[in-house]
Amino acid sequence: MDDRVEDIEIQLLLEALFQRYHYDFRNYARASIKRRLRQARDQMGFASFSALQEGLLHDPARLPRLLDYLTVQVSEMFRDPSYYRAIREKVIPHLRTYPSLKVWIAGCSEGEELYSFVIMFREEGLEKRTLFYATDINPDALDAAARGIYPLDRISAFTSNHRHSGGKSSLSDYYRADYGRAVFDKSLRDRVVFSDHSLVTDAVFAEMHLISCRNVLIYFDRKFQDRAIGLFRGSLARKGFLGLGSKESLHFSEHADAFAPFVRDEKIYQRHEQ
């Protein structure tokens, strides 16, 4: 098939997805969207993107499956331990000076990053005064995050990451093993609010002291990246912190001036005073 026809079909499919279901993938980095849409088309049994589009428009039951292809649920607890170490050693001393805290984990996937933060805040004695907001656009991922159950075979990587991040307790204090699964303690969710929220279509969140949004911006084109960064700018309290993924930066953003690098190597920024 002509590649250009395929590009037109993809454009129309994304437009249909937006108009019908308000999921806006139109300005996601196109090359990887294309790759994932090809998988969706083949594995959902459609001969073309146009056929997939028709199926999607007329049957809302197909949406969750497509969303699972379009959003990438790859995560790890304490992924990039040096990031968590920098939060612990450099950011937390500032956060301690506040009587109450709000932390937003944006694009939380199935909760790995969220639980990492809650455990770290518990270790540092800040959990009780903190409200965590965990958001994502994939409802299945949010459900999984709210369950906090992971296959046991992932735990050794999580444990090693936790240790390298400067963890002060043993990760095994926070879960119990159950038929091949690690079930994280529900008390870790006492201070957590889960919510369906899109960085490209939804509004500013609240007065946050820390926003951690890792490995979400890489999926956007520059326009969507800027929209999301503008949202962070508007959601952060004065001198609030923003942490990004290790290959993300504010480098190309029109909002770069509103932030100062705080821990440069770990992509942690601080909001200037207004």
Partner: protein, 204 residues
């Protein structure tokens, strides 16, 4: 499928605008024969995926920056692709070329047990550059890059694979040659001079 401009004598020979290279086991030694041979005024970007264990520090950039005559850097998300520059995919991220010829990184699942994956780079670059691309599969012990090299050739680009007979690890170039009959098999030194000569009209 865009008709192969290469095979089609009627259309003008397309000028190559970018090079993609994939390598696995034995990559450093193979690349050391190719990248330092590119002249200081090399007019093309060169995008490289090497399979590196995720937990190992990626030493490729400092190593080749010291030995190459053109710029060598780790690819950054959303950066514009510039001529005369070698881009290495960061370890544990896929590297893709966007239609507007910028780079995207992604954390998508492993492909052929690898992230970065050669197929992911080659497929996306074939989409973005069409016939104006040269793809090279070097030494390696798996079959990543085979489908990607075929995509490059199908889009009308130039497809090369290291000669399995002399490759440090023949499986990967052999898989590429099997999947992509249009690909030419060359020694490392032939690949080096072929690439060095690219950029003007395509050598035949």
């Amino acid at each position: 499928m865009i008709a192969s401009a290469q095979a089609n004598g009627a259309s003008p020979t397309p000028v190559t605008e970018a090079v993609v290279i994939g390598a696995s086991a034995g990559a450093v030694q193979a690349l050391a024969r190719i990248l330092p041979a590119l002249p200081a005024d090399y007019p093309l970007p060169v995008l490289v995926v090497v399979h590196v264990p995720a937990d190992r520090d990626n030493m490729l950039v400092p190593h080749f920056a010291a030995t190459c005559r053109i710029a060598v850097r780790e690819a950054e998300d959303k950066e514009a692709i510039r001529a005369g520059t070698v881009y290495f995919a960061p370890s544990d991220y896929h590297m893709l070329v966007e239609p507007d010829r910028t780079i995207s990184l992604s954390l998508d699942p492993l492909v052929h047990y690898s992230r970065p994956s050669i197929d992911v780079l080659f497929d996306s670059a074939a989409d973005a550059y069409g016939p104006a691309l040269a793809g090279v599969v070097l030494t390696g012990a798996n079959d990543d890059g085979a489908a990607g090299l075929k995509a490059v050739a199908d889009a009308g680009g130039v497809a090369l694979a290291e000669d399995p007979a002399t490759a440090y690890s023949p499986a990967m170039p052999r898989a590429a040659l099997d999947a992509c009959p249009a690909a030419r098999s060359m020694s490392l030194d032939q690949i080096a001079s072929f690439l060095a000569a690219l950029g003007g009209a395509r050598p035949s």
